[in-house]
Symmetry: C2
Subunit: 186 residues, 2 copies
């Protein structure tokens, strides 16, 4: 019996269009144009994250580790941040950060040492190996991103960047970091 005559045998997974149609069917007040933007945005972002995950995996790097590397690189030379600051930027609890640093220090991606000037603080510093890993991952990512936007001409890219930045500003203004560690990096 290859035909799914029975109940929810093998409902095909919905495309973006089908999903939006379903939402409209179930919730009449929905503006389809708004939903198109929001749903496409979210789906796109997830697929991109999956792609990033695969790439970093080929370098023996987890997505979690990559985020720490990014935060340290963005902080600029000498690539040092404390666990608390890292936690805040990544949107994690300090406890989670402690463990993540443990692992990464074991792998040689970062070092952890007390700040001798203020011994309450700890300094997490990128190692040369960590920096090199970040660079490799970045090379892969930039190729992927360039390829992703390939079909957009300069004007479209610019406009897209501007509009997204406007939306971002709107969200950030609306949620003035309300509950503490919300911010993160990308």
């Amino acid at each position: 019996m290859s035909e799914p005559s029975d109940a929810a045998a093998d409902a095909a997974e919905p495309s973006l269009e089908e999903q939006i149609a379903a939402y409209q069917r179930e919730f009449q007040d929905l503006d389809p144009q708004v939903e198109q933007v929001v749903s496409a945005l979210q789906r796109l972002n997830r697929r991109m994250n999956v792609a990033y995950g695969r790439q970093t995996a080929t370098l023996g790097l987890s997505n979690a580790e990559w985020e720490v590397l990014k935060a340290l690189v963005v902080s600029g030379a000498p690539y040092q941040l404390g666990p608390g600051e890292l936690a805040k930027r990544l949107g994690l609890t300090p406890a989670a950060m402690t463990h993540r640093i443990d692992r990464m220090a074991n792998e040689g991606l970062v070092t952890r040492e007390r700040d001798e000037a203020n011994r309450v603080r700890v300094i997490v510093e990128l190692t040369d190996e960590g920096r090199e890993k970040w660079l490799e991952a970045m090379r892969l990512a930039s190729v992927f991103e360039e390829d992703l936007l390939q079909d957009l001409n300069g004007g479209e890219r610019h406009l897209l960047g501007q509009v997204l930045t406007r939306l971002l500003r709107r969200v950030e203004d609306a949620q003035p970091d309300a509950d503490g560690r919300l911010s993160d990096l990308d």
Copy 2:
């Protein structure tokens, strides 16, 4: 000493612009326009997820539960899917899905029963309460989304939706669901 003369005392967290500038400084091959799009997209998406999380929390709903509700609603009446299918759509392992369904069944959001026509299968079905929860969450979400896009005129909204959809299609074509459970819903 309020002045951060010492090491990495209190590096301010980077704005989007600062972040992109840092990437360029550390990785010359980067196209700033591409990075603007990608970084804004990712940051925006995270902030939105935080906002959704807060909203659903006010309804006593976790983000995880909300995603299950969405998948069931999108599947349409009679709002039934199997654990395996749900896991595939949400990008989870079947094991995780089993536990999630346990919790949600305990809370009365879904029911779980064997498919009598094919007793290997299990049918997860949305309860009336679950459907009502979804509706409440949807009402909150749609207000938020409408507000988010408020500053965009009709043309901009349309264009944004179209461009994002094009990008999505590109990613989906490039990664033909390569490793199994990649797809998810939004």
